[in-house]
């Protein structure tokens, strides 16, 4: 995978993870362009499209578009499964996740993604294993702070 984007129907970016070093300016341009292309797609169209020299796999969950750019030899269908697995992880973590969860806890969304995918490839195919690691890491954060919980620190509690 080259990069993953999450954005709303109004074209607001909620998450961007790049797995290939790209200049900021180029990133902005690509995001703008791709959002335009994907948002213009009609509901009956298939989830794959060609864009520049990449294949783009996208899926809409409620008000959020999950968009992955993959390379020529990557399997589009399994990428759909990857996206679905990420959504499942978010869902389990936040309990029925919605866009607002991701807006207000964007750093958590990143942490979860970084525990699931690294360098564009899946690290662990077990949902349980990924969620457990996140849970443990969260605990570490809590233990870190005394007396004040770090969750409060970050405005979470």
């Amino acid at each position: 995978m080259r990069f993953m984007l999450l954005f709303s129907r109004q074209g607001k970016l909620r998450l961007q993870k790049w797995y290939l070093a790209t200049a900021d300016k180029d990133k902005k341009k690509m995001v703008r362009e791709l959002m335009q292309v994907v948002l213009a797609r009609k509901p009956k169209m298939c989830s794959f499209l060609e864009w520049r020299d990449l294949k783009v796999v996208y899926k809409r969950y409620a008000s959020l578009y999950f968009c992955c750019a993959i390379e020529g030899q990557d399997n589009e269908l399994i990428t759909l499964e990857l996206i679905h697995r990420y959504v499942e992880l978010l869902d389990k973590y936040f309990g029925s996740v919605c866009e607002l969860d991701i807006i207000f806890n964007f750093e958590k969304a990143y942490f979860i993604l970084d525990e699931f995918v690294m360098g564009g490839e899946i690290q662990d195919t077990s949902k349980k294993s990924v969620l457990k690691a996140i849970e443990q890491a969260d605990l570490l954060q809590e233990e870190d702070e005394s007396p004040r919980s770090v969750l409060e620190e970050m405005g979470l509690a």
Binding site: I78, F104, I122, D124, D144, G155
Partner: protein, 820 residues
């Protein structure tokens, strides 16, 4: 100083902004606060501030002043700090900035941290955005972690190693020892990432590939895959009843690389591939994902034919799936295999044709490309009907490609001349404005060659533009034909259908309308004016009218028209005795091989009155010298130049000498030159216009080759053999462009050894669009009576990124089936 506001609070506040300006103001205010907080070197709130900065960065605001703060967070002892610090580093820093190198030491320390989650953070950051320098410095640490027994770290180290190898390929060797027992792990995370690592190594290095084949990696992978399929329900890795599909897909992909071009490896995996192909559940996307990968693998390795047929049938079933995503990947895969497994794909032709009616644009495009690849002598009538219907109803973005494809296919497989002309007419009337400009001269040539159809053709064309003369290519062809065969039109000689009653005046009416109309392009007006002029020798009653029209345009604002009119005027006045000869019926335009230099290929659709010369232009000489030029360019004394038959596009330019025209041709299309004196050749070159279907399914099965691949330009050759003449091979070239800019004015030339003969038909266009978004196709016919090994020299010229490019190459990798 009051405590900086919390992250969630900031987010809430910013979301209340009603305008962009309001948001900008809030952001600026907060940034100022954050800046002063940073200046105070406050450890407590640094984490909170950076988190807020990251949020604002995501909204699109600059956040570079936070980069150093991220580094400070990473260096902190608190896990919370590190977590945000590393995230910030991944989002804000990149290898272009020197400051990222300051991270290296921190990462090194954290890779050796006592807490595995800290180690994990470090591995993740390195594995996502580590620069080459960082990778070099830290590769040793990663290698160490690759050998740890902690599966949490091992799996991350494997992916980190993948990134290191991508950045610094020379370091690949050092990871080899650690790979020895990676696959002995039970942990699926380690297994998955290890397979990814092995894949990366095998793809990058042929030595590694050979090594892994030798150490029996294939049987090991087969075993793991078998276990996954046969083992019972495993809740941890189950997805819709399938055990760890992600791992299955990665293993299949690695098997593909190992089996490619290797008989032993391919044989070792035959059984498991068959097993996966037949046993995988297909009701959900996840099962189909595995099948898809299996099909890709089967098609790419040296699999037995039974397995290949199985794979294509899976794709055929995919085409019938309700899920459009599945249909899409099926079409993509079939497109890749249609050359090598032509017969098998033909069986699914009707399903593919149905996909032309799909609602999705990407599916339609693929179906169209695949349909063109499947057209052959046997199915051409039926396929063309479908494709013409498609042309009628498809989106504008397809029409040009579809029209070109239809022309090419019609030329190759037309069952009769009448059918061919009708098909051309249908395309011109349906998608007349989308037809590429260089199709016009090609069509004109085809029409002149179908001598017995002239009356029919001109009648149909006349009727077509009578109602509507806005489609330029149609009007151009029609004008030319009317100018050429107007006498047949008014005399009502048509045999093929009911002749219409047309008077000379009515014909001139329509041509004059074209001349006057705002819709007509300059080029089209040129065609019309010349057509009117030519009719002066074909019509009897309206010569005065023609004289009048011509003299009016002598003062036209359009310089081109003005020049022509002036010259035609002169023809009427001073050179009237020459007029009949100059405006004579055009000879049949084709490559004539029998009589040597004097039989010259006429190059374009326009006779140009050589007003300033008293003798006909020595058309024999110029082309001969061009033939020599081609010889020089292509070198070698045993090579004869190819003489392409395609006439060029533009009507005569100013100046009006036939010589100039031939000069122009070099720029636009295939050079026209005299054939070297040769013995009389069998008329195979007219094959495309004969009434018999020439090619059938036997032609399938010849592997295609990549003839040229340099600087982003790739040219593939696909082959077909004629069943009426076994010495004929038809090569279809496809040129694609993977760079970011279009290649324009593309010209393909070829030369073959003396014992061969070559005929180049005209290309589908002269522009290769960027990003592999389209191709130029061109057909070459080779006659090889002595069944010698085919060799070819090619010359490519094109414009790219503002400069003229040129290259010569030899093609030596023709498969034996293409010439034996």
């Amino acid at each position: 100083m009051p405590a900086p506001i919390r992250l969630r609070e900031l987010i809430r506040t910013i979301r209340t902004a009603r305008t962009q300006a309001e948001e900008r103001e809030m952001i600026q205010k907060e940034c100022a606060a954050i800046r002063s907080s940073f200046r105070e070197e406050d450890n407590t709130y640094r984490c909170r501030n950076v988190a807020k900065l990251l949020y604002m960065h995501m909204l699109g605001y600059p956040a570079h002043f936070g980069q150093l703060e991220c580094l400070k967070l990473i260096a902190s002892q608190k896990f919370t700090d590190k977590r945000i610090g590393y995230l910030g580093a991944m989002l804000l820093l990149d290898e272009r900035q020197d400051v990222h190198l300051l991270m290296t030491n921190c990462i090194k320390n954290d890779l050796n941290h006592s807490t595995q989650y800290v180690q994990g953070l470090a591995l993740c950051t390195l594995g996502c955005m580590g620069s080459s320098e960082m990778c070099r410095d830290l590769a040793g640490e990663v290698e160490k972690l690759l050998k740890t027994s902690n599966s949490y770290l091992r799996k991350k180290a494997a992916l980190c190693a993948v990134h290191v190898i991508r950045k610094v390929p020379e370091l690949m060797e050092m990871f080899l020892p650690a790979t020895k027992n990676l696959l002995n792990e039970k942990n699926h995370g380690v297994l998955h990432t290890s397979v990814v690592l092995l894949t990366e190594m095998c793809e990058r290095s042929p030595d590694m590939l050979a090594h892994f084949r030798k150490v029996s990696l294939v049987p090991q992978l087969v075993r793991i895959l078998k276990n996954l399929i046969m083992s019972g329900y495993s809740p941890e890795h189950d997805v819709s009843g399938i055990s760890d599909p992600f791992l299955q897909v990665r293993i299949l992909r690695l098997l593909r690389i190992l089996g490619r071009n290797d008989d032993d490896s391919s044989e070792a995996m035959n059984d498991i591939l068959a097993q996966v192909a037949t046993n995988t559940e297909t009701s959900k996307n996840v099962g189909n994902a595995i099948l898809y990968e299996t099909v890709l693998t089967i098609m790419d390795i040296k699999s037995e034919s039974g397995l290949r047929v199985l794979a294509i049938n899976i794709l055929g079933r995919f085409l019938l799936n309700n899920d459009k995503n599945i249909r899409y990947v099926a079409l993509t895969s079939l497109l890749k295999t249609v050359q090598t497994d032509h017969n098998a794909v033909q069986r699914h032709r009707s399903t593919i044709v149905d996909c032309l009616k799909d609602l999705d644009v990407s599916i339609k495009r693929r179906a169209m490309e695949l349909s063109f690849a499947l057209v052959n002598g046997n199915n051409v009538r039926g396929m063309m009907k479908e494709l013409l219907y498609f042309l009628d109803s498809c989106e504008p973005e397809f029409k040009a490609d579809c029209a070109s494809g239809i022309f090419l296919a019609a030329e190759k497989y037309a069952p009769s001349k009448r059918w061919h002309i009708d098909t051309i007419m249908r395309v011109l009337t349906t998608a007349g404005s989308y037809v590429r400009d260089d199709a016009v001269p090609n069509l004109i040539q085809l029409i002149t060659n179908s001598v017995e159809m002239h009356a029919y053709t001109v009648q149909r064309l006349y009727k077509a533009i009578l109602g509507d003369y806005s489609q330029q290519p149609l009007v151009q062809v029609a004008s030319w034909c009317i100018g050429e065969y107007g006498d047949l039109l008014v005399s009502g000689q048509c045999e093929e259908e009911e002749p219409i009653q047309v008077t000379e005046d009515e014909v001139l009416d329509i041509l004059e309308s074209v001349l006057i109309s705002n819709m007509s392009a300059s080029v089209t007006r040129g065609y019309a004016l010349t057509a009117i002029m030519k009719l002066s020798t074909r019509f009897t009653c309206t010569v005065n009218r023609i004289k009048k029209v011509v003299s009016i345009y002598g003062s036209s604002i359009d310089v081109e028209l003005q020049q022509r009119a002036v010259e035609y005027n002169a023809l009427f006045k001073k050179y009237d005795h020459m007029r009949p000869a100059l405006l004579e019926r055009m000879p049949v335009m084709e490559k004539v091989t029998t009589n040597g230099p004097t039989d010259i290929v006429q190059t374009n659709g326009e006779t140009e009155p050589a007003v300033l010369e008293t003798k006909p232009p020595p058309s024999g000489l110029q082309p001969a010298s061009q033939a020599n030029d081609l010889l020089d360019l292509l070198g070698g004394s045993d090579i004869t130049p190819v003489i392409p038959t395609a006439p060029t596009s533009k009507p005569a330019s100013a100046g009006g000498e036939l010589l100039d025209l031939l000069g122009d041709l070099n720029l636009t299309g295939s050079p026209i030159s005299a054939p070297a004196p040769q013995i009389a050749q069998p008329p195979f070159l007219l094959d495309g216009l004969s009434s018999q279907p020439l090619f059938n399914d036997i032609a399938a099965g010849i592997p295609s080759i990549t003839a040229y691949n340099k600087n982003g330009l790739k040219i593939d050759f696909t082959f077909e053999r004629s069943n009426t003449n076994p010495s004929v091979t038809v090569i279809t070239i496809q040129a694609s462009n993977s760079t970011e800019l279009d290649m324009t004015d593309f010209v393909f030339q070829a030369a073959v050894p003396k014992t061969f003969q070559l005929q180049l038909l005209s290309p589908s266009s002269s522009v290769i669009p960027a990003f592999n978004s389209g191709t130029i196709t061109q057909v070459i016919k080779v006659l090889n009576p002595q069944k010698q090994q085919l060799r070819m020299r090619i010359k490519l010229t094109y414009n790219h990124k503002g400069s003229a490019m040129q290259d010569l190459a030899e093609v030596n990798n023709f498969p034996p089936q293409s010439w034996q």
